[in-house]
């Protein structure tokens, strides 16, 4: 990671107006979005969007032709090109031919993508952004920090200063007055401009129509007052039929700004008369800039389903801390990382892809049904292929994959750190390792790993067997969780086996883009876990569960290793997370809780992979309630704790404030026990609470259940 990039992250993290504004916004957004969707079946709407935009992405050429034909028949000029330079030249030539001295623009991300403004300005043409937020950042010489709210990072005082310095002295930080001031100043720009430039939210092939959505009313002026209207439209905006606009108009305002509909929607299907009666020149530029290439990529094609609502940014735990500028100049957040990789260059995403903690919040709200974290992983993989793995990475993976060596190294490290270790925690590490313990303590490494402890557990032989997959953390740091799993399953009459050949689940390798390593892990685990005939393969770590159930398959698919797929699927079918299995056994009457227990209040933290990838959130709550606990829900219970595997090591400066929010939300509940289903979250949260000194215990669900089952 370059120093400049680290610096930009730190600058953002230490900008209180940015983190304050984004933090408050993301909290308010969740609620207002939900309200806006009242009475709407979001899943149905987004399925329609994904289907129709997906269809369009597979028929871009055809739709572009049809659109062109329809629009031209009405007198519109349509220019289609793959090349951003040609877009810039087309507009500049047009301006020159018509003696245009001044241009007004309503918001167009496509124009930002191709850096149109400086090109026109260099040629002596004035360019005025008219969306208030865009105008502010244009005056300030900045770039947008959010796709929908470009100036969200600025306070009213900062805006006042920009107006005073760049436009006219004497403004005061009073928002309605600042808005009025902008209205007055921009009004003359609208009236004087020779050309209006817009983007479009949808381009309908069937009718040759553009659909433009705004709140301020600037697009209506931009398309009414100047005699030339140029619309720059990325070809992913194409949709086949006029009726396709329904799901987009239903979702976009709700997701973007929590409105039922924006103030204005303009549907432009041909040139309209100018105010002097002459017909307007209407030019539509269908800009490709690698979108067609993207549509041919089986993985990335789905990114063309994006409707640019920015809701993925609003729910992202990382975005709300660092804002948009860290991501680059045009597209920001998770989806921005993906778009930048394509519209700019793969290597431009090299650093920013590392910002994603893979929590999956974005995918849950995305109206285009885009698997954003999945695509970011794919970027990571391609970048790793392009660059090759570093020596350190290779060394790490080779150690991780050798279980005995890994444990003995961890043990040695922890013994060496003995003076640091107390009550099962490592609180400080020296030198370069100190970042790891700066904001949370680390668990001490177990003297005896689970794999060895397991051999000491006496079990009765049973016909029904389950294979336990421990994962690294339970094996080396929290063997007691593994013991609890065995205890519970034994109570249900299931014998647990621990296949010795099991190794790392491959998540660290996969999340670093090292898919070959992950595939080797998958192969080893599959043969170990399928060696004996078992009913279930159970794991008490959601990340491992996801690996066993989904990632092995997709890793093989990514690498084209189709031979390995049948066995991977066979394994996937047997894999269950602990809570789901226990719930099943309780429902079947094979496990029962002690009666009449009153165990007091606990709060439950949803782990990212369990809640959003495995869709398990009610099961553990139900089990804990049946056991006799009373659940006091914390605020944002399903928000990431900041662990993210090795993320907390790579980007501790981001992981720490995410954890801090989590700890605050836990403390707010007044519960003295916080429960979760993931040993990674236990490590992060227990370590954070230890550093913090709070008297709150942290437990894995499995341990509480093991005590309360008969």
């Amino acid at each position: 990671m370059r120093k400049e990039f680290r610096d930009s992250i730190n600058t953002a993290l230490h900008n209180p107006s940015l983190t304050g504004a984004l933090g408050r916004f993301s909290e308010a957004y969740r609620i207002s979005r939900e309200k806006a969707y009242e009475g709407i079946d979001f899943e149905a709407v987004r399925t329609q969007i994904a289907d129709r935009k997906g269809y369009a992405a597979s028929h871009l050429d055809e739709l572009a032709d049809r659109f062109t034909q329809k629009a031209e028949a009405r007198g519109t000029k349509v220019f289609r090109t793959n090349d951003p330079a040609k877009v810039r030249d087309y507009i500049l030539d047009l301006a020159r031919q018509n003696g245009v001295k001044s241009v007004v623009k309503s918001k167009s991300m496509a124009s930002e993508e191709i850096h149109l403004n400086p090109h026109l300005e260099k040629a002596g043409i004035e360019v005025h952004e008219t969306d208030l937020g865009e105008w502010i950042i244009q005056l300030a010489g900045q770039t947008p920090s959010h796709m929908v709210m470009p100036a969200i990072h600025m306070t009213k005082e900062e805006v006042t200063e920009v107006f005073n310095e760049q436009v006219e002295e004497g403004q005061t930080p009073d928002i309605p007055k600042l808005v009025k001031f902008a209205r007055g100043k921009l009004r003359t720009k609208f009236l004087d401009a020779g050309m209006g430039i817009t983007g479009a939210n949808i381009a309908v092939a069937e009718t040759g129509s553009l659909v433009i959505i705004t709140n301020e009313g600037n697009a209506r002026l931009v398309t009414t007052l100047p005699k030339i209207h140029v619309a720059i439209v990325g070809i992913e905006k194409l949709m086949a039929n006029f009726s396709d606009i329904v799901p987009v108009l239903t979702a976009l305002p709700r997701s973007a700004t929590a409105q039922l509909l924006t103030s204005y929607v303009s549907i432009i299907s041909g040139p309209v008369p100018n105010t002097d009666g002459t017909p307007k020149q209407l030019h539509i530029i269908l800009m490709d800039n690698r979108r067609t290439e993207m549509s041919h990529d089986p993985k990335f094609k789905q990114a063309l389903q994006c409707i640019r609502c920015a809701s993925c940014l609003n729910v992202c735990p990382v975005f709300r801390l660092v804002g948009g500028h860290v991501f680059g100049k045009v597209y920001t957040g998770g989806i921005g990382t993906i778009l930048t990789a394509w519209f700019d260059a793969l290597k431009s995403s090299d650093e920013i892809q590392g910002l994603c903690i893979q929590c999956g919040n974005c995918t849950q709200v995305c109206p285009g049904k885009i698997d954003i974290p999945g695509l970011i992983l794919e970027l990571r993989r391609r970048l790793a292929v392009e660059k090759g793995q570093t020596f350190t990475q290779k060394a790490i993976f080779s150690v991780v994959n050798n279980r005995r060596l890994f444990h003995s190294m961890l043990r040695t490290a922890s013994v060496v750190q003995k003076p640091m270790q107390k009550d099962g925690f490592i609180r400080h590490l020296p030198f370069f390792l100190s970042d790891m313990t700066e904001f949370r303590s680390l668990p001490a490494i177990a003297d005896v790993p689970f794999r060895d402890k397991f051999k000491q557990i006496a079990q009765t032989k049973q016909k029904e067997k389950a294979a336990f997959y421990s994962g690294c953390l339970i094996d080396f740091a929290y063997p007691e969780m593994g013991e609890a799993v065995v205890k519970i399953l034994n109570k249900a009459g299931i014998e647990v086996i621990f296949p010795e050949g099991q190794t790392c689940c491959g998540a660290p390798a996969r999340y670093s883009g090292a898919y070959e390593v992950a595939a080797q892990n998958a192969t080893d685990n599959i043969s170990a876990l399928l060696e004996q005939d078992v009913e279930y393969v159970v794991s008490a770590c959601p990340t491992c569960t996801v690996a066993l159930k989904q990632d092995f398959i997709s890793t093989f698919e990514s690498l084209g290793q189709t031979d390995a797929l049948p066995r991977a699927r066979e394994l996937a079918a047997k894999v269950m997370d602990l809570s789901t299995l226990v719930k099943k056994l309780v429902d079947e009457g094979r496990l029962t809780f002690k009666e009449g227990q009153k165990l007091g209040q606990v709060t439950y933290h949803d782990s990212c992979h369990l809640k959003r990838t495995l869709h398990v959130s009610e099961q553990p709550r139900e089990l804990l309630t049946k056991a006799g606990y009373e659940i006091s829900e914390m605020y944002e219970a399903d928000m990431c704790c900041g662990m993210g595997g090795s993320y907390s090591l790579k980007l501790p400066e981001i992981s720490a404030p995410i954890l801090e929010r989590k700890l605050n939300n836990i403390k707010q509940t007044c519960a003295t026990l916080v429960v979760m289903d993931c040993p990674g979250c236990v490590m992060q949260i227990r370590g954070g609470l230890d550093k913090d000194g709070a008297e709150i215990k942290v437990e894995h669900t499995v341990q509480l259940l093991a005590e309360q089952l008969k």
Binding site: T155, P176, R183, N215, G217, R220, L221, Y264, S269, V272
Partner: protein, 201 residues
């Protein structure tokens, strides 16, 4: 009609529009005249009112109204609209579930009076109320008109500190006037949106 009208009113008011309803045209006209007076419309720049030609105006004695309200003009140009405080136009459809108005806005005067002045008065026949977007799409004809506008409340922004502020580049006030009486005999030929049989009352 009552239920759908109530929904419209609720939704439109929720986005800061004003909603009125009158049985007959004459009552609506009286209201508009009163409104223009109290809004301070006068014969001086920035205080004019502009009224775009529309079926509602057929049979109305424009000269007489203009005499009652100095500063009101039916000559809609870029200049008069830009110097007006109030703009008046007729809208073609209303969409209840979002409180929106829909208009064939290809004729430029219709856009000028609803974009440049501070206040937009929108007149609409009550029987033009439709429940939702699919039903509106069943009526509008993008293949026949080059500019269709949806208007939902006054213009707004939240671009500074996310504080909702009404009135940016478009009107800061939207006054919607429903008239139950049908002005069907005045359907103009170019008004392709108004091509359906009226009278759903």
């Amino acid at each position: 009609m009552p239920a759908i009208f109530d929904t419209f009113k609720l939704r439109a008011e929720a986005v800061s529009a004003e909603v009125h309803r009158f049985p007959r045209k004459t009552e609506a006209l009286d209201f508009i005249v009163q409104y223009l007076r109290s809004a301070g419309v006068a014969d001086s720049p920035q205080s004019y009112a502009v009224w775009a030609d529309c079926p509602f105006l057929s049979g109305v004695d424009k000269k007489q109204i203009a005499e009652q309200i100095p500063g009101l003009t039916f000559e809609v140009t870029r200049e008069t609209a830009a110097a007006s405080r109030v703009g008046i136009s007729q809208l073609d459809w209303a969409m209840a579930n979002t409180g929106s108005l829909i208009q064939d806005a290809a004729p430029v005067d219709r856009r000028l009076v609803s974009t440049l002045p501070n206040i937009h008065i929108a007149v609409i026949q009550t029987d033009r109320l439709l429940p939702d977007l699919p039903s509106v799409l069943g009526k509008i004809r993008p293949e026949q008109t080059n500019y269709i506008s949806f208007i939902t409340g006054p213009s707004r922004t939240a671009d500074i500190e996310r504080v909702l502020t009404i009135g940016v580049h478009g009107p800061e006030k939207l006054v919607i006037i429903f008239v139950d009486q049908v002005f069907a005999d005045q359907v103009s030929v170019d008004d392709v949106l108004v091509d359906e049989a009226a009278g759903v009352n």
